[in-house]
């Protein structure tokens, strides 16, 4: 799971670039051409791509933290195996994306440290709590489902190493998503208390899922660098609508109710009422829905969400506790591990 859709980057203009090279680059990209690391690219493209890959990598790493907590509490051996594999995959995605970002000019080490010290961000949805097993189920179904939608479009982007990584990642996300569906369907065909637990988790995760695609499009969205240079191939609002069209009817078919919720500072739901805008527009084929609370979204991004501090504290703790491993590796005192 992850996303880079909502990374906000201010890109300097390209006034220092050679106009001829820039024009050739833009034409190449506009015609569907792909960029490899050794090709000429404007500095703004390089830095935007780097920040996108880094934000994506950070999200993979932090996303594994709440899930990792649930490995030891998984309800069966099969679920434990699958969740362990998922967490291993997510961290692996982080490693692959850090490699892509590293090739664009920032060291892995600097990226790992900037994440811990709060210089760089990760995906906002991981700042919410995960109090029950059903939250793990909803994350795998909704957040990974949203990530697949987003990454499916990112895989048609313009930067070769990133799109190759995206394709490999998507194949693993396909497993996370199917497993998520299996878990949600299991709960929703279970006992009343399982259904209630699923509904409560759904209430916590529906809003972060639709906010996952990032803020609403701006009027000039298609002209902004990420779209113009085909790093993104779909806008946030288009992806969000596509997500709701797919998941709203599916959720309702399982018996889940799509509510508009209010939450307290800890991310606990304090009120839930059925979304009044939720209906199918027969003409357009689109489902109506209530927008996420954007004020809260930006407040949480700025570091004031229910779990921002916990996630970074755990990340920092692991990094500091892992110091001896890095030292041992550098001293050459390790022996390689095998299966």
């Amino acid at each position: 799971m992850s996303a880079s859709a909502n990374v906000e980057v201010k890109v300097g203009d390209c006034s220092n670039e050679d106009p001829q090279k820039l024009a050739a680059f833009e034409e190449h990209v506009a015609n569907g051409g792909l960029i490899e690391p050794n090709d000429w690219m404007p500095e703004a493209y390089r830095s935007l791509m780097l920040r996108m890959a880094e934000h994506h990598a950070n999200s993979e790493i932090v996303g594994a933290l709440p899930e990792g907590e649930w490995i030891v509490k998984a309800p069966s051996l099969l679920r434990k195996l699958a969740l362990t594999a998922k967490v291993q995959d997510e961290v692996g995605h982080g490693q692959m994306l850090y490699e892509v970002a590293q090739d664009l000019g920032k060291s892995r080490n600097a990226m790992l440290r900037d994440l811990i010290t709060g210089v760089t961000k990760y995906h906002n949805c991981f700042n919410y709590p995960c109090p029950t097993w059903a939250d793990i189920c909803m994350i795998a179904w909704l957040i990974d489902g949203a990530a697949i939608l987003n990454q499916g479009t990112l895989a048609h982007g313009s930067f070769g190493p990133y799109i190759r990584t995206m394709r490999r990642i998507n194949m693993e996300e396909a497993f996370h998503f199917k497993h998520g569906e299996d878990m949600v369907l299991t709960l929703m065909s279970g006992t009343d208390s399982q259904k209630q637990m699923a509904q409560e988790a759904f209430d916590r995760w529906w809003e972060p899922s639709i906010a996952f695609f990032g803020p609403n499009d701006r009027p000039d969205e298609l002209e902004r660098p990420a779209m113009r240079w085909r790093m993104k191939t779909a806008t946030n609002d288009d992806l969000r609508q596509k997500f709701v069209n797919r998941f709203a009817p599916a959720a309702m078919a399982t018996g889940l109710v799509i509510n508009v919720c209010t939450k307290d500072d800890q991310g606990n739901v304090t009120s839930a009422t059925p979304d009044p805008l939720l209906k199918l527009d027969e003409e357009t084929g689109h489902w109506g829905f209530t927008q996420p609370n954007w004020e809260e979204f930006f407040r949480v991004i700025r570091g004031n969400g229910p779990c921002n501090k916990d996630r970074l504290a755990l990340r920092r703790f692991s990094y500091e506790q892992g110091e001896w491993v890095r030292k041992a590796i550098l001293d050459g005192t390790t022996t390689p591990c095998k299966n």
């Binding site: 490899e36 892995r108 080490n109 499916g152 070769g160 490999r168 199917k178 369907l185 550098l330 390689p336």
Partner: protein, 193 residues
């Protein structure tokens, strides 16, 4: 309790009390999904030495999807002009954005000659984007049949989408019409790349 060792971690403030790690060399990994396939570039990794590069390669590129054979080499070798007289493995990227594909090997006295021979032997009349050559002495080859990479001795279905497809389909069909499930599943992704 183990599960609680991860919660209520004290919040640390100030500078990180760890040393900067020096930049590791970069390694490229090629994997072969099944015996009848060729080695394809899987991705890169950072590691201080060859032993750890192999260890990380297994972890990151060999255990998330089927893999019967894996090659690991230092990135520098792939574009080096110099070299000794020996066999070189050749990889071609047929177009920007595509994965490097193993096309064969040649005997050559250095990297430049190996890539020239690659153009003649494997790229004649064909458009290609870039070529990598790697001296056999610089590549670590891991054969999954004698040195297991992807675990085949135990059931791995739990970590593949295909391991859930049937049961999930059945559960959906108990709730929705087949047509609605088809529409919903039309956006599913395949689980191999």
């Amino acid at each position: 309790m183990l599960s609680e060792s991860r919660t209520n971690v004290p919040e640390a403030k100030g500078e990180l009390q760890t040393q900067e790690v020096q930049k590791f060399p970069i390694w490229e990994v090629f994997t072969k999904k099944k015996e009848s396939a060729v080695h394809l570039h899987a991705g890169s990794l950072s590691a201080p030495d060859s032993d750890l590069a192999q260890c990380f390669a297994r972890e990151h590129y060999g255990q998330d999807q089927p893999c019967v054979n894996m090659w690991v080499t230092k990135r520098d070798f792939l574009t080096a002009d110099s070299g000794e007289n020996e066999f070189y493995e050749l990889f071609v990227q047929w177009g920007a954005g595509l994965r490097y594909e193993h096309v064969g090997e040649v005997e050559a006295c250095n990297g430049v000659e190996a890539r020239d021979k690659c153009k003649e032997l494997f790229c004649a009349d064909k458009k290609y984007f870039t070529i990598w050559s790697c001296p056999n002495s610089g590549i670590t080859k891991i054969d999954g049949s004698t040195d297991m990479i992807w675990r085949e001795t135990t059931d791995q279905a739990y970590r593949l989408a295909s391991g859930y497809s049937k049961v999930v389909r059945k559960k959906w069909e108990a709730l929705r019409a087949s047509k609605a499930v088809d529409d919903y599943q039309s956006e599913d992704l395949k689980d191999t790349y």
